[in-house]
C-alpha cells in the first residue's frame, strides 16, 4: 500500500524552493510594456504579429499602461525630449521589473550621434538585456526574451531581495574622465596636453 502511494506521489509531486517556483512563474508570464518610439517598434509589432508570434513564449500580453507591466521594451531611439517621459514610465512600473533595450539606438545612440539623441538609455536607466541590430530581427527579440526568462529563473527571489542588492544601473558604466588621465600618466604623457573629451 505504502509503495503504491509513493509511486503515485512520485509522478505527481515536485519538491522545490518557493524562490524557484516564484521565479518560474514570473519568467513565463512577462507582461511587456512596449515603449516603441521608432523603427524597432515596427519590428516589435512584427514579432507580435502572425509570422513570428511572440505568444509562443509567454509574453504576448502587451499592456500600454505601465502599472500593469513588468517588462519594459525600449524599442527605438530616445531623445532629449523623451527621456523624462521614459524615466517616469519606468518609475511607475511596479516591482519586480525588467528592461530590454532593443536596437542599436536604444543601446548606444546607434547612427544618431547628434545633439538630440541620448547615447544609450543605460546612462539614465537600469537595463537587463541589450539587443544589437538596427533594427534587430524578430528572432533576436525572441531570443532576448528567452534569455531574460533564464535570467529571471536564475536570479529571482520570492520577495525580490535581488533588486535591493542591485544599486547601480546594469550595463556598462559611464566613462570616467579621470581614468583617462590616469592612463595617460601611466604611459608617460604630460597632463597639460589638451584633455580628450570623451563626451564630444
Amino acid at each position: 500500500m505504502a509503495t503504491e502511494i509513493n509511486k503515485q506521489l512520485g509522478d505527481n509531486v515536485f519538491l522545490t524552493t518557493i524562490d524557484a517556483a516564484a521565479s518560474w512563474a514570473r519568467a513565463n508570464s512577462l507582461w511587456p510594456m512596449p515603449f516603441a518610439t521608432a523603427c524597432c517598434g515596427i519590428e516589435l509589432m512584427s514579432t507580435a504579429a502572425s509570422k513570428h508570434d511572440l505568444s509562443r513564449f509567454g509574453s504576448e500580453v502587451m499592456r500600454f499602461t505601465p502599472r500593469q507591466c513588468d517588462l519594459m521594451i525600449v524599442a527605438g531611439r530616445v531623445v532629449m525630449k523623451m527621456i523624462p517621459v521614459l524615466q517616469r514610465i519606468w518609475l511607475q512600473m511596479p516591482e519586480p521589473k525588467w528592461c530590454i533595450s532593443m536596437g542599436a539606438c536604444a543601446c548606444s545612440g546607434g547612427v544618431f550621434d547628434t545633439y538630440a539623441v541620448v547615447q544609450g538609455i543605460d546612462r539614465f536607466l537600469p537595463v537587463d538585456i541589450y539587443i544589437p541590430g538596427c533594427p534587430p530581427r524578430p528572432e533576436q527579440l525572441i531570443k532576448a526574451i528567452m534569455d531574460l526568462q533564464d535570467k529571471i529563473k536564475k536570479t529571482g527571489t520570492y520577495d525580490a531581495r535581488e533588486f535591493k542588492l542591485r544599486i547601480l544601473p546594469d550595463g556598462p558604466k559611464r566613462f570616467d574622465e579621470d581614468e583617462l588621465v590616469r592612463i595617460r600618466e601611466r604611459n608617460g604623457f604630460k597632463l597639460d596636453e589638451p584633455k580628450y573629451d570623451p563626451i564630444h
Binding site: 518609475l91 550621434d113 546612462r123 533588486f163
Partner: protein, 167 residues
C-alpha cells in the same frame, strides 16, 4: 516655361522697381526677393495661382563659399492645377532676423515657420502661435546653424540617473 515667364511678368509688374534676381537650374526657376518685399511678393504669387506652399526652409550661409548674407529663407511654391513650381528666396542677416509671416497667405505655413525658428532662430512676425516646435522649450541654441556642433553642447547628457535602488 511659358508659365514661368508669366509669373515673372506678374511679379515684376506688381513689384515695380524692386530688384528681383531670377535664375534657373535644370528645370527649376528661382527668384530672389529682398526681405522688405517678401510679403507682397508671396501674396502676389498666391493671387497669380500659386495656391500651395510646399515648404519653407532656411539655409545658414556662414560657411558657404562666396556668400554675403547669413541666412537664406526659401519658399517652395506650387500651382496644384498646372503643376508649375517656383522657388522664392530671401536673405536675412543678424541682428535683424525678422520676416513677415506667410500664415495669412497659406495657413500651412504655421508649423513650417515654427520649425525654421526652432532650427535657425529666424523670427516670423505676425505668426499666431509662435514658439519652438520640435525641441524642448528649455533648449537655448539653434541646432542647424553652422556654428552649432553636430554632437551638441552636452545637452543630451544632462538628465538625472535612475538606479535600481531608486526605482
Amino acid at each position: 516655361m511659358t508659365a514661368a515667364t508669366n509669373m515673372k511678368e506678374v511679379l515684376e509688374s506688381k513689384l515695380g522697381g524692386v530688384s528681383l534676381v531670377w535664375s534657373a537650374f535644370r528645370d527649376q526657376n528661382r527668384v530672389a526677393v529682398p526681405v522688405s518685399h517678401i510679403a507682397a511678393a508671396l501674396q502676389t504669387l498666391r493671387d497669380a495661382g500659386m495656391d500651395q506652399l510646399v515648404d519653407i526652409t532656411a539655409v545658414d550661409m556662414l560657411e558657404y563659399p562666396g556668400a554675403t548674407d547669413r541666412f537664406e529663407v526659401v519658399y517652395l511654391l506650387l500651382n496644384t492645377t498646372s503643376g508649375e513650381r517656383l522657388t522664392v528666396k530671401t536673405h536675412v542677416n543678424e541682428p535683424e532676423l525678422k520676416l513677415p509671416s506667410a500664415c495669412p497667405v497659406w495657413f500651412g505655413a504655421d508649423w513650417l515657420e515654427r520649425e525654421v525658428y526652432d532650427m535657425f532662430g529666424i523670427v516670423f512676425e505676425g505668426h499666431p502661435n509662435f514658439k519652438r516646435l520640435l525641441l524642448p522649450d528649455a533648449f537655448e541654441s539653434f541646432p542647424l546653424r553652422k556654428d552649432y556642433p553636430v554632437k551638441g553642447r552636452g545637452e543630451r547628457h544632462n538628465f538625472p540617473i535612475i538606479t535600481r535602488a531608486e526605482s
